[in-house]
């Protein structure tokens, strides 16, 4: 096996065959779209992209480590979890960037708290707005309607904005007012004049925005047909594709694999494989689906989890809350490859956790700056240099 340390030094972003390297993008930056996928529960990064070239991995995971011959081939140091077929396909087309060792200082091992940090993009700060909300505020300070879409039962903190009203819905068919036909006209009446106070004005703006968005989104979903198979748990990504394909003006989309699904403390192997297969299928299908419609160059997807898991398996054939983890960036515009230095599996911190090598805000900054054309420092604070991740 290749020594991990030797290999790490050699890791570099290498464009792969399967897509034209350095393809010229016609789309202007203000056409570009960012889709963020939250894998809640703490996805086990080490069993997602497995460092089969590192003996320390197998020593730490005698029961849970995935044997090299069971992995989906990636390169001579890493392999994909056998469930992550979709990720392998993206990788082979050079459309997947794997950013290793993402985390932050003084990590929290609480789902709530760490997810809060990832949502705000500001660990240990007490901020109450989301990094995507601030991104939208900067990109479009006039807050045009329908700039942020968040598909889910509740609004994520990540999209909480100081100016924008995110379009939040779960089931597009149910997104709207239930009312008898005879009530419609009366219900749709929202006066144009100034409202009684700022709160009332805000509510009117939301109502107007909702009225506009709901009809469009219902229509987009109703009219959307795709031959692409998103798999068993599509993560709401077909809804995103439907919105984008319909020309809906949003530039930031947020979806999640819900209910802390990746919290795999117990008997993890088969469950994790299945969860990954769902997520990977959906992400891959999404990229293909947009590509098929000529929209691929406009859309980049970023997937994250609130933390990784411990290196060593626990007594229940599962893993406990950890720290550094990988992030995935996928899309036709992405230069596939490895980014960031994989953390040393044997150089653990005082709590037996991996030391992160890449602040996760550098990946956020990459999406905000090079991709969407924002100034990341004003959103995330300074010192988070974007990665050179786009062709």
């Amino acid at each position: 096996m290749v020594s991990r340390r030797r290999l790490v030094g050699a890791l570099a972003a290498v464009p792969f065959a399967g897509r034209a390297a350095g393809a010229v993008r016609d789309a202007a930056r203000d056409d570009r779209i960012l889709v963020v996928v939250e894998l809640s529960g703490g996805n086990d990064g080490l069993n997602t992209v497995v460092p089969h070239g590192d003996d320390a991995y197998y020593r730490a995971r005698p029961g849970l480590g995935i044997r090299r011959d069971a992995l989906l081939p990636l390169d001579d140091h890493f392999g994909f979890n056998p469930g992550a077929v979709g990720l392998q396909r993206l990788w082979q087309r050079g459309e997947l960037a794997i950013v290793h060792g993402c985390g932050y200082d003084d990590p929290s091992y609480s789902h709530f708290t760490s997810m809060n940090f990832w949502h705000t993009g500001a660990p240990n700060s007490g901020r109450r707005d989301g990094w995507l909300g601030r991104l939208a505020d900067q990109l479009a300070p006039a807050a045009p309607p329908n700039f942020i879409v968040n598909i889910g039962a509740a609004q994520s903190l990540a999209v909480r904005s100081n100016r924008h009203v995110p379009v939040v819905f779960d089931d597009p068919q149910r997104f709207g007012r239930r009312a008898l036909a005879s009530q419609r006209d009366a219900l749709e009446t929202i006066p144009d004049g100034a409202a009684a106070n700022a709160s009332a004005q805000f509510l009117r703006d939301v109502a107007r925005g909702g009225r506009a968005a709901a009809a469009e989104i219902r229509a987009a979903w109703r009219d959307y047909k795709t031959p692409v198979d998103y798999g068993l748990a599509p993560l709401d990504l077909p809804k995103v594709a439907a919105c984008i394909a319909s020309g809906f003006p949003a530039r930031v989309y947020y979806v999640s694999f819900r209910n802390n699904a990746f919290d795999t403390h117990v008997q993890q192997a088969a469950l994790h494989r299945r969860l990954l297969s769902y997520a990977a299928d959906a992400i891959h299908a999404f990229v293909r689906d947009l590509d098929r419609q000529g929209l691929g160059e406009r859309v980049t997807l970023l997937a994250f989890s609130e933390f990784g898991r411990r290196v060593g398996e626990n007594a229940n054939r599962g893993t406990d809350h950890g720290s550094a983890n990988l992030m995935l960036v996928a899309g036709s515009a992405v230069r596939g490859g490895h980014y960031g230095r994989p953390p040393d599996l044997e150089d653990l911190d005082g709590t037996d956790n991996l030391r992160h090598t890449t602040d996760f805000r550098r990946v956020y900054a990459t999406a905000a700056g090079p991709w969407l054309g924002a100034t990341p420092g004003a959103i995330l604070g300074t010192g988070f240099e974007p990665l050179d991740l786009f062709a």
């Binding site: 379009v167 819905f169 009312a179 009530q183 709160s199 009332a200 509510l203 939301v206 117990v266």
Partner: protein
């Protein structure tokens, strides 16, 4: 039956629940604060009241002030409530709203708990491991021989998960009913504040008894001294369980509890250091619970010297709390949070400092501080009126209260409605509680708020009670049951039939079923059966309304008068003439005549359509 008692109590005080007693339109108009021109004149004079904490004089106290007070210190009001309060004047009114009362209905337990359930293991594997090790768990012995010897224990594990969750839903119903009928709604409103402040979630605590005790503490002591309350919360099993106090022991302190006490409960981020967190965590070592009691284990307590917020000593947890509260910042933090909850989202820096000073001088007497706020001219200034976006619980409870209901309807389900709007009681989303104000509103949630009104005024005849039908992985569990009933073997009946989207529970169940000592899918199914057998059902009554009767009693003569009546009764913001016209034209088209009295025999449905339309206006979200 508690519902009956509630109804009777309400009936004596406010008039019958089904047919609210209301006076003539003229009378309502007087009570609710008169014409818009009066309000405007008032507003002009009162602009200077902004930031003024001196009490409003009795002579200046109007019906609209009383309605405002009931909106904020309680959960809205009927015209009769407003009139009663108006007569008291501001000082006595605030006192009445916060007066502790004997005889408030107590929670009626279903009787789902038994001693074998305590302590409840942290997970299903922990349960079955204990069973294998000890031959017994959850008060049940492992079968000596035979198939699936641990199955009854696994059944009981799932039983308690389901039953505690369902019983927690009943606790929420009980509490919301108290909000609805209480003559001291400030007690319940303040309890709701504390529930958001000291957030604990059933999903993690998994014991309705601990959650109930927490709410009862807020009801009993929420208007008392903050130090007492904080200490009681810090020692409450619900909070200790929620913040992992059990793993905070000497030599391995866990910082979760200490951090949240400072970050969320008292000081706010930036007013303490990481060193303070570590030292406070040491001081709280050995704090734990035993069943429903606080338990302190001196063996696990770190008695060494600590350095905390600039002080040094062998502090214990109680002393840490006193050191925190000695900081003016703690008073500033809490005062501003109370102000934002009861008065306005935004608080000017100088007013915030003054509020903190007052609370500090009051030695953290919460009731005294709220009385100061709720009587202040600032509270009655135009900037504080009708700017508060109602939380989902406020919206739902106040809608029922304004409709004059004497008990919470069972259809729609209170917990499902408030949950889908973002505020399910006893299930706050994070340790930081709920975000308030504009965060409640998204485009789809604004629609959902209107859809809730439709569900009240036109009850869904396809309603399925979520406490009777397993809605959590439901279809799969019912299918397992059906296959077993049809005579299939356990192995065959519990085989997963493809995993539904997002159905991680079913997936993990399938994973764990490799152990032949038990079958988790069978356990899940039996758990539901046992829970449904034992947890008392929530009465699925619908709101019985008589809007036509009310309009008759109010004496509204034409469609415009009906719109005017509903506007005054339900909304805190005056509608524009254009909106009023649209609404009365709508009613006119529905009734086929402007002579409302002549149309009353068939007016009920048109009136409900009108009210649904009006309560779907963005303005209805403001209180």
């Amino acid at each position: 039956m508690p519902t009956c008692r509630v109804l009777c109590m309400f009936g004596r005080t406010f008039g019958c629940g089904r047919r609210p007693r209301v006076g003539s339109l003229l009378w309502v108009s007087l009570v609710l604060g008169g014409a818009a021109s009066v309000a405007a004149a008032e507003a002009g004079d009162r602009a200077a009241w902004l930031g003024d904490l001196t009490p409003i004089e009795r002579g200046a106290w109007t019906a609209s002030d009383a309605a405002h007070l009931l909106e904020r210190a309680g959960f809205g009001a009927t015209p009769a409530d407003v009139q009663r309060l108006l007569r008291l004047g501001p000082k006595r009114a605030v006192r009445e709203l916060s007066r502790p009362r004997r005889g408030a209905s107590a929670f009626v337990h279903s009787g789902i708990f038994d001693a074998g359930l305590d302590p409840f293991p942290p997970s299903r594997p922990a349960t079955t491991n204990a069973a294998k090790r000890d031959g017994r768990a959850l008060g049940i012995d492992v079968k000596p021989t035979g198939n699936r010897p641990i199955q009854p224990i696994v059944n009981k594990f799932f039983y308690w998960l389901r039953a505690s969750r369902l019983e927690t839903d009943r606790v929420a119903y009980w509490w919301a009913n108290r909000m609805l009928v209480s003559e001291s709604p400030l007690v319940e409103k303040t309890a709701l504040f504390w529930h958001g402040h000291f957030a604990v979630n059933e999903d993690k605590v998994r014991d309705y008894r601990k959650l109930l005790a927490q709410i009862e503490l807020f009801q009993a002591a929420g208007l008392g001294n903050f130090r007492d309350l904080l200490l009681a919360v810090a020692r409450s099993p619900a909070m200790l369980a929620f913040l992992d106090a059990g793993v905070n022991v000497k030599d391995a302190p866990n910082e979760n509890f200490a951090r949240e006490i400072m970050e969320l409960f008292t000081l706010g981020v930036g007013h303490y250091g990481e060193q303070d967190v570590r030292e406070a965590a040491r001081a709280f070592t050995g704090w734990n619970y035993d069943g429903l009691r606080f338990a302190f284990d001196p063996e696990l307590h770190d008695q060494g010297a600590k350095r905390f917020l600039g002080h040094e000593g062998r502090f214990d947890g109680e002393q840490i709390i006193d050191l925190i509260l000695a900081e003016r910042q703690a008073a500033d933090f809490l005062a501003a949070k109370l102000y934002r909850f009861f008065v306005r989202d935004t608080v000017a820096p100088e007013l915030a400092r003054e509020l903190g000073r007052r609370l500090y001088e009051l030695d953290y007497d919460v009731g005294g501080f709220l009385a100061l706020l709720l009587r202040s001219k600032d509270f009655y200034s135009p900037a504080s009126r009708a700017v508060h976006i109602k939380s989902p619980v406020e919206l739902v409870v106040s809608t029922y209260r304004k409709l004059g209901l004497g008990a919470l309807p069972g259809v729609p389900d209170f917990n499902v409605v408030t949950g889908s709007l973002g505020q399910r009681l006893l299930h706050p989303p994070t340790v930081a509680g709920w975000s308030a104000g504009r965060a409640w509103i998204t485009p789809s949630l604004l629609f959902e708020r209107g859809n809730f009104v439709q569900d009240v005024l036109f009850p869904d005849i396809g309603f399925v009670p979520p406490d009777r039908y397993p809605n959590y992985g439901g279809a799969n569990i019912v299918a397992v049951q059906d296959r077993l009933r049809a005579g299939e073997s356990v192995a065959s009946a519990t085989r997963p039939a493809g995993v539904a989207a997002g159905g991680e529970m079913a997936a993990s169940n399938a994973m764990a079923d490799q152990d032949e000592a038990f079958n988790t899918r069978l356990g899940s199914m039996r758990g539901w059966q046992l829970a449904i057998e034992r947890v008392l059902p929530i009465p699925r009554t619908t709101a019985r309304l008589d809007l036509a009767g009310e309009i008759r009693a109010a004496g509204a003569v034409d469609c415009a008068a009906v719109v005017n009546y509903f506007e005054r009764r339900f909304l805190s913001v005056a509608l524009e003439a254009q909106v009023r016209r649209t609404l009365s034209d709508f009613l006119l088209a529905q009734l086929g005549t402007d002579d409302v009295a002549a149309a009353l025999s068939y007016a009920e449905e048109p009136l409900r359509l009108l009210l649904h339309t009006m309560l779907s206006l963005p303005e209805y979200q403001l209180g």
